[in-house]
């Protein structure tokens, strides 16, 4: 069953990844002046002080087979991407783009995975609660404020939180992944330091996305409450807690899991800017530095990898969906 779902989803995943790769390939070529070549020329003119430019240019020409027809170039580019050959960084020449990304990726995944899951769970519970007939008064009072936070991009909230908690009150660091003095190691002290530094960036993502989830969940919960099975559950004398969690929330969760998959791109793009605000050492910061230095291969590499990760994450969400929805399992068994 999982296999058939996988097969059904695979073409879409491929289409998305190939589209991203094609854009990376085509956009610099369509630009009036090829930005990569311009940058390379610029570096060659600055000459000596920099690293081995001629080696870089040779590897660039080889990689893209610039003497070949465009269509051949395109397919060799795709082949390179398929084997994660993302080329070299222009700014730090002998360093491979793939290595730079590999070093930054754990930071981003750690930050995004935890904050997205926390926001999703809290948002769902909160949204369902304010739609529930006998909601606590406190939930109703803070609801409009939480919803308004949904209008703000993560980084803006991040800036505001930095202003209050790191600038005025100074209880959190202004930024970074860990203290300047700390040496990365597998120790409790370092783990604690990393956790402490991740709190504000995570909080800005959580606060800004709770509202989005709460808003949609509230709408869904209102509909679910009108269903016959809710009336039946109440007539059977089931406890309010059971009706809320097992009858209401359970049914609201399904469409929201689909929405989560569709939202991943949004979340990842938002996180890029959050990392910039907090100088967080993930792929967002890598991307920002690359933009500052016109390091095109890093820009293209990061964008390609992030698109790939999102596509894979969407696939995973899609594959665990049957585990949440017994109807799909039953259908598959017949």
């Amino acid at each position: 069953m999982i296999l058939s779902r996988l097969l059904r989803r695979l073409p879409m995943l491929l289409a998305v990844v190939v589209t991203a790769a094609t854009l990376n390939f085509a956009l610099p070529k369509l630009a009036p002046k090829n930005p990569v070549e311009t940058k390379l020329l610029e570096m060659a003119e600055q000459g000596g002080s920099l690293t081995d430019i001629s080696g870089l240019i040779r590897s660039y020409e080889e990689r893209f087979g610039l003497d070949q027809p465009v269509i051949v170039q395109y397919f060799s580019y795709l082949k390179g991407l398929a084997t994660f050959d993302l080329g070299y960084s222009l700014a730090f020449y002998p360093t491979r783009v793939a290595d730079l990304i590999l070093k930054a990726l754990p930071w981003t995944i750690g930050l995004l995975l935890t904050s997205t899951l926390i926001a999703f769970v809290i948002g769902l519970l909160f949204g369902a609660l304010i739609a529930w007939n006998r909601a606590p008064r406190l939930a109703r009072v803070i609801a409009p404020g939480v919803m308004a936070l949904a209008a703000l991009p993560y980084y803006l909230l991040g800036l505001a939180l930095t202003y209050v908690f790191a600038f005025i009150w100074q209880i959190f660091p202004l930024g970074g992944g860990y203290s300047l003095m700390a040496l990365p190691s597998w120790s409790w002290a370092f783990a604690l330091d990393v956790f402490y530094h991740s709190l504000l960036p995570a909080l800005s993502i959580v606060l800004a996305s709770i509202g989005t989830w709460a808003l949609t969940t509230r709408g869904l919960m209102v509909t679910v409450q009108g269903e016959d099975y809710m009336v039946y559950a109440e007539a059977n004398g089931l406890s309010e807690r059971r009706r809320f969690l097992h009858y209401g929330l359970r049914n609201v969760m399904l469409p929201q899991v689909t929405a989560l998959a569709l939202h991943l791109g949004h979340i990842a793009a938002g996180a890029v800017l959050v990392e910039r605000v907090f100088n967080y050492p993930g792929v967002g910061m890598l991307l920002f530095r690359a933009i500052e230095q016109s390091d095109y291969f890093v820009i293209y590499g990061v964008v390609y990898i992030v698109v790939l990760m999102i596509a894979i994450a969407m696939l995973i969400v899609d594959l665990i969906y049957p585990l949440l929805d017994p109807r799909i399992r039953a259908e598959a068994r017949q």
Partner: protein, 282 residues
């Protein structure tokens, strides 16, 4: 007029959105008349001064007067949003209507493309696009860059609405009377979807403002124009936090919060107006 007011009282979001955005527009329009916005450019004021009588909002580390920056920046950012949003809805409406009325392989190509492009994270593609264009992007270029992807949501939503309309009796009637596809789109569907198109324009403008400020905060905007996003970029780049220049941090945040919350309220308020089915849900 009274009916309008009564409706606004019932639709608090719409009222709130109009109030916030109206306030912001009034601030920049009045500012444009009574304040010298030439001061929004570097070296036109003393450097890094706290708010004072001469410079009510203070100045930044490059000698821009921040009140002038907020006035000019709000207008520039709104301009980018309006151009990109209008182009997005325009292109999206054409594609959506064409896909829905022609159907068949035309529809399959259009909605297939939209589906794939909607899955690709927009801001990241825009980053590739904006960074591939050599030289400085002025605000008009920025609007065009954003419009390159701004048509995706409008195209999908308008297609869905037009598909519903296609089955309406009066559309069938006009088909039976021999109306062609174009006539059905312009004479029958468009007028009925006007409120909906309005709502999706506001949503598109809101999305475009979001993208443009995001791109600019990453340094991909115009280095010679004082937009709100570039103000955030300069502020972070030159370490306003570490240097203790609180006004430089606070002002763009406040203006952007008002702008984003205003656009969000207006957009969801208009949605409720254009899509009465939503009213029962809230």
């Amino acid at each position: 007029m009274i009916a309008l007011l009564r409706y606004l009282i019932g639709n608090a979001r719409l009222a709130g959105g109009l109030l916030l955005l109206g306030g912001l527009i009034a601030f920049s329009a009045i500012g444009l008349v009574v304040y010298d916005t030439e001061l929004a450019y570097p070296l036109s004021a003393p450097i890094a001064r706290e708010p004072s009588a001469a410079h009510p909002f203070g100045t930044d580390a490059s000698g821009r007067d921040l009140l002038a920056v907020m006035i000019a920046g709000t207008l520039l950012t709104m301009k980018v949003g309006l151009i990109a949003g209008a182009l997005g809805v325009g292109i999206g409406a054409v594609l959506g209507f064409v896909a829905a009325t022609y159907g068949g392989w035309v529809d399959r190509i259009i909605s297939g493309t939209v589906d794939v492009l909607l899955t690709v994270p927009g801001l990241l593609v825009l980053i590739v696009l904006a960074s591939s264009i050599p030289g400085d992007l002025d605000t008009t270029d920025m609007a065009l860059v954003i419009a390159a992807l701004a048509w995706r949501e409008p195209a999908r939503q308008i297609r869905a609405q037009a598909l519903v309309l296609r089955e309406a009796n009066y559309i069938r009637m006009s088909r039976l009377s021999g109306a062609g596809n174009l006539s059905v789109i312009f004479a029958d569907m468009m007028p009925n979807l006007l409120p909906y198109l309005g709502a999706s324009l506001v949503a598109a403008v809101s999305g475009a403002v979001l993208s443009s400020v995001g791109l600019e905060a990453l340094g991909l905007g115009s280095r010679s124009e004082p937009t709100l996003g570039m103000t955030i970029y300069w502020m972070m780049l030159e370490g306003a936090f570490i240097r203790g220049l609180w006004w430089w941090v606070l002002e763009p945040i406040v203006v952007l919060v008002v702008l984003f919350v205003g656009l969000y309220l207006l957009s969801s308020g208009l949605d409720e107006f254009a899509n009465p089915r939503l009213r029962t849900a809230s």
